[in-house]
């Protein structure tokens, strides 16, 4: 496979800017505006203030005592992104990007959403700053996440259903990109994961790294050292990259990303891009993509709408390739089992996405010594998934 020689916005072989010519000016303007904002202490201060006063940061690193006893290995700590305003890590990025959009003079926001968490986070920050908000969402996801659709509408956003393709996240990204092409002058595309053309993957990572930065400080304060391992779920990969990035140079910390194995890798119905995917270009960047030999993008499958994406952010593809992060996959059934366990043992109902990380933690715990430290990123709470969970889990 050919690799690009122009290295702007690449992580190894992955990344770049592969968008229709109409968008090239916009991605370059965004690149420049973000570089400027990143270096501006006033922007950083404004972001920090909102994260504290509005999102409710910093979030605790909770010692999960009963889960630790149940798994019988390392001390397990949960990074509580579920306690954020709107219920997941998504708002960290939505807030950062909306502040940037305001700074760039954009009055309208378009976004895509899978589970609806990013859509809700985007609708929320748009309400906060009085910006017009349109959210594209696959019809299949609208069906699975009715309550989040209502939330977005209540917050004043317009939710537009997407029927094309598998009618899930990938198709919503296509439609949001088309909308951006047609409205590029006054609209910012607020992408929800560490995906898309440069500078999105880097920018989303920077807005999410607050997760890892806090975790690192908190782990040192609570345990006197860095964790032995850190686990996060990966769809596009924004909570995971935000958690991992501050630890990448700390070689003693094992980093584990968990993809969705859906009904099982062998069933072909999964979203485990790094296991089943190949190098390709989707949504503006080189990444690992589930695709046919002819380069048609395949549909991903997962019980969790937020992991139901056939690609993976370029930085994850790179971290996988250089072996710095290990990627595993967890099935729908394992995730549902983890939902039940965490609910019963800790009184925390996790989002289906985050439940994948909990399920992987149980597997890792078996290989780890007592007294070692395992951090799990609890990226969101399960309120949005009640209908799905209820239809699969029996409560005795």
């Amino acid at each position: 496979m050919t690799t690009a020689s122009n290295k702007t916005g690449f992580f190894g072989r992955y990344g770049g800017q592969f968008v229709p010519e109409t968008l090239m000016k916009a991605v370059k303007e965004l690149e420049a505006a973000y570089a400027e904002a990143k270096a501006d202490p006033e922007f950083q201060e404004e972001l920090e203030t909102y994260l504290k006063e509005y999102v409710g940061r910093e979030q605790p690193l909770t010692f999960a005592k009963r889960l630790t006893e149940e798994f019988g290995g390392p001390d397990i700590y949960l990074k509580r992104e579920d306690l954020n305003h709107t219920g997941a890590h998504k708002i960290n990025n939505a807030l950062g990007q909306v502040l940037l959009a305001k700074r760039m003079g954009k009055e309208k926001i378009v976004a895509e959403t899978g589970a609806g968490q990013h859509g809700v986070a985007t609708a929320t920050v748009c309400a906060l700053f009085g910006l017009e908000c349109i959210v594209y969402m696959g019809e299949e996801d609208i069906r699975r996440q009715q309550l989040n659709v209502f939330r977005m509408e209540l917050l004043g956003a317009e939710v537009r259903g997407v029927k094309a393709g598998s009618a899930t996240l990938k198709d919503a990204v296509n439609e949001a990109l088309r909308h951006w092409v047609a409205n590029v002058e006054d609209t910012h595309y607020l992408i929800g994961s560490a995906l898309g053309p440069h500078p999105f993957p880097e920018m989303v990572r920077d807005f999410q790294r607050v997760i890892g930065d806090e975790t690192k400080r908190q782990a040192e304060a609570k345990t006197g050292r860095l964790p032995d391992a850190v686990i996060a779920c990966v769809g596009g990969g924004s909570n995971a990259i935000g958690m991992f990035y501050p630890f990448v140079e700390d070689e003693g910390v094992e980093l584990i990303g968990v993809e969705a194995a859906g009904s099982g890798i062998d069933s072909g119905k999964h979203a485990a891009t790094l296991t089943g995917g190949k190098l390709g270009v989707l949504h503006g960047a080189f990444m690992k993509v589930l695709q046919t030999d002819d380069g048609q993008i395949q549909e991903a499958h997962s019980i969790s709408a937020g992991l139901d994406y056939p690609g993976i952010g370029p930085e994850h593809a790179y971290l996988h390739e250089i072996g710095r992060v290990k990627y595993t996959a967890v099935t729908d059934d394992e995730a549902l089992d983890a939902v039940k366990k965490l609910s019963r043992l800790e009184g925390i109902i996790p989002a289906l996405e985050s439940a994948h990380a909990i399920a992987e933690a149980e597997k890792q715990a078996k290989k780890m010594d007592k007294g070692s430290v395992l951090v799990v990123c609890l990226s969101g709470r399960g309120d949005k998934d009640m209908e799905t969970i209820r239809s699969h889990v029996e409560v005795e």
Partner: protein
């Protein structure tokens, strides 16, 4: 100067028709090419179906879905073109998104283009900065890579792109995806004229054009037109007379290029 550019310069205004290869089955491809050739088009773009066509509007998206349901691949399209019983005289141009080309392999793709007599290639999601992924192999095979410029292309970028233009320049007349529009913004004629004044290669206007009236308004500012969605939909609905009328209406325009 290549065959594609030569043909386009010979007909003014030029008419490039886009069809989705495999819509209606690959068996109908040769017949549709003949219909277009007999209608008087200057060149034909063969669209390769792709699962995620972000530059396309609903008409071409739907046609792509139909072609994919037929199982049509890039490889099949090359085979079909090589197998045409009557080799078309008008140049055939492949329009494809980048990923199918990357999976095929750029060198193999260029070689297949050459074998099938393809006169040009358009890749809407391959920006100028990254054309070295595909262009060297195409140049080696003698196949031009057509460049797109848009209303948002900056002046500096425009100059760089036009300096490398070959075949023709694809000037996108709308901020948006493919598909008919009722009207164009006021700056479109000026945009086309500006590109034309700077470009050695002929400048064709595309995206949003669906009638001879629209073409007449822009004809003084460009060298011809690319029409996609209107043709795709007419084939789908079996309205071949409408296609003939549209092509004749455009190529029959008398243009005063001041």
């Amino acid at each position: 100067m290549g065959y594609l550019q030569e043909r386009i310069e010979r007909q003014n205004p030029a008419f490039v028709a886009y069809i989705m290869a495999g819509d209606g089955g690959l068996d109908s491809l040769e017949e549709r090419v003949q219909v277009l050739e007999e209608a008087g088009v200057t060149a034909i773009e063969l669209g390769i179906p792709f699962s995620d066509p972000v530059a396309d509007g609903p008409v071409i998206q739907d046609a792509g879905v139909r072609a994919l349901q037929e199982g049509v691949t890039l490889r099949d399209v090359f085979a079909a073109v090589r197998g045409f019983e009557q080799k078309p005289e008008v140049p055939l141009v492949i329009m494809t998104y980048l990923n199918p080309v990357l999976q095929y392999g750029a060198e193999a793709f260029a070689e297949s283009c050459r074998e099938a007599g393809i006169a040009g290639v358009i890749v809407p999601d391959l920006p100028f900065e990254h054309q070295d992924l595909v262009k060297p192999a195409l140049s080696e095979a003698g196949v031009p890579l057509v460049q797109l410029v848009t209303l948002t292309t900056t002046e500096e970028r425009l100059d760089a792109i036009l300096a490398e233009a070959e075949g023709f320049v694809y000037a996108v007349t709308v901020k948006g995806v493919t598909g008919g529009r009722k009207s164009f913004s006021e700056d479109v004629a000026e945009f086309l004229a500006r590109i034309r004044s700077k470009s050695d290669a002929p400048v064709l206007a595309g995206f949003g054009i669906s009638s001879a009236e629209q073409a007449a308004a822009l004809a003084p500012s460009c060298d011809g037109f690319i029409v996609g969605s209107a043709i795709v939909q007419a084939f789908y609905e079996g309205r071949e007379d409408d296609i003939r009328e549209l092509v004749q209406g455009v190529v029959g325009l008398t243009v005063n290029k001041g």
